[in-house]
Symmetry: C2
Amino acid sequence: MEDGNLLFYFFIIFFSAKIMGEICVRLKMPAIIGELMAGVLLGNYVLGIIDHTNHVLMSIAEIGVIFLMFHVGLEIRVKDLFAVGRTAVLVGILGVMFPLVLGLGSMFFLGYEFVESLFVATAILATSVGISVKVLQDLGLIKHKVAYIVIGAAVLDDIFALIVLALVKGLARGEFHALEFFLLVIEALAFVGFLTMWGPRLAGRTRRWIEKLNIPEGPFVLSVILCLGLAYLADMIGLAAIIGAFMAGIVIDELAGVYDLENKVKYVNEFLLPFFFVMMGAHLDPGAFLKPNLLFLTLLVTAIAVLSKMVGSVLACWKENWKTRIQIGVCMVPRGEVGIIVGMVGLSLHTITKDMYTVVLGMSLLTT
Amino acid sequence: MEDGNLLFYFFIIFFSAKIMGEICVRLKMPAIIGELMAGVLLGNYVLGIIDHTNHVLMSIAEIGVIFLMFHVGLEIRVKDLFAVGRTAVLVGILGVMFPLVLGLGSMFFLGYEFVESLFVATAILATSVGISVKVLQDLGLIKHKVAYIVIGAAVLDDIFALIVLALVKGLARGEFHALEFFLLVIEALAFVGFLTMWGPRLAGRTRRWIEKLNIPEGPFVLSVILCLGLAYLADMIGLAAIIGAFMAGIVIDELAGVYDLENKVKYVNEFLLPFFFVMMGAHLDPGAFLKPNLLFLTLLVTAIAVLSKMVGSVLACWKENWKTRIQIGVCMVPRGEVGIIVGMVGLSLHTITKDMYTVVLGMSLLTT
């Protein structure tokens, strides 16, 4: 790629993502919808300015999503995960089971292959922590009990989705072997379990050693090394790289507060993330929605995604009053970035078709 | 590039750059020497882990150097540029003239072509602001008059070097035409002059508008857009992209303080910059220094670089006492990153040979 061209791509991607983001925020929609729309506009199917097969831009998008998951991991406190209590766990589990079973069932019923159905089901079972928190803020409920339950449940759902994604990814790569499936579950549980239980303690013990570092911004540098290292490790053992990055965020939980890492990683994220959303948007062919059956499928998947999640969530908190139950149900709906990530992984493994990616992306946009 | 491979490269580059950086800092050397050495080790000529022709990694290195120059621009206050007075300007000008004339003269005398000689002369006329400031801090002189003169002069030298680089780049691309040369000078002066004189004022007036932005981190986002935009513009009109990025830093000078932009850009920089230094190091063939004539040339160029800069600087501040004059002379020696940037531009334009790049890089390492 020519020097000037590269700069042009960087400028136009960053610029249009942010302009569209600003427009969406003013229309009271999340900024990421604007960034995705910018990608759709710039992509091959509309203006043709950005080539979604461009190697350099896709690589930067990949690093962008790794930093996104790292940042989400940094935002989550392990203690809160353990403290939210039974209701959150129940909302989380039922909020995953209903979409999974309903999604898988209806896709299978419609005649799709098992792995492809599973991908769609995985995409609809996630809940976006970031967007849920935003919705709660807008409703003025952020200090309310509802917020704690929703955030706890959403975090659990994201972890569930990531584990299921790891499994599905393993399945998609090879044939379906019971042993392989079993090994992947063990690997995923061991990786996630070990890092969740012991990671933060181990990280806490390195503090004295970190203080001795002489390079500028030592803690920030170490956290980035851990993020890239665990992402690579997770990818190597057959899990998704994003899970490794997410776990890196969980692991340095305690240190994050001391060294204000969340705020420092945020700026790397702010720079890289638009490339991810724009490149994801560029993969979407808006013309596909003109096909009636694809439009129908998108609306169907979206309806399943919304209803199954709400029913699961509302059932799970039967002890609460109706108002609280409805609030929790509504707040669990947005799928946001995790749904898009699932779609991207499926597309890159050629497990789901481009049409199906369009459906998943459409669903993510609609629920968000 | 495979997903896993990309992550591996990212991890190994970032990790080894920082490890080597830490070792260098402990040995009382600047961290960037460690990052370059990491690149030399990982590169094709030693371990062969990193391929310096890798497109994705070189693109990230390019964005890294753009953010470096943006950050340098943010660190410089336009007011200070005008306030340092005649001594700084004189030190700056003589500190540029001596290396330029001596460098060009001796290279030409040794039988090199005009453009190649000019590249070497350009590489030795720069002074590294960042490293000079570090040296001043180590000497406990940062609040002393010497510091103001050196920083002022170093800034001027960097701008001179960048303008000369832009001219040389133009020369290297086409044949030598007096008209073209003249147009480039006008363009460079107009671009740099307009942005220096009017840029900060224009940027200051946008404050009310910036406050109205709804997207998160609006000021940071706008500053990145300006950086990428001016870098692209500078590249398009025939100047180097890094000059555009540097000028973007100068332009948002006033706003930088208000929104703490320097600190925010720092983290993007911390992440991207190691890729630049490592990839630059990977281009160096340490075996080349085994050739006696190349080793001789490196030492000669380094000697010219050190002596000419010191003589120029010391002559310029004849009004000061001897101690101050020597201090100023010593502080002006480090070439650091700007020398490497000049070398890289020359190499990418095929104007200087790989051997000559090795010489320039060796000089940069030795003076730093």
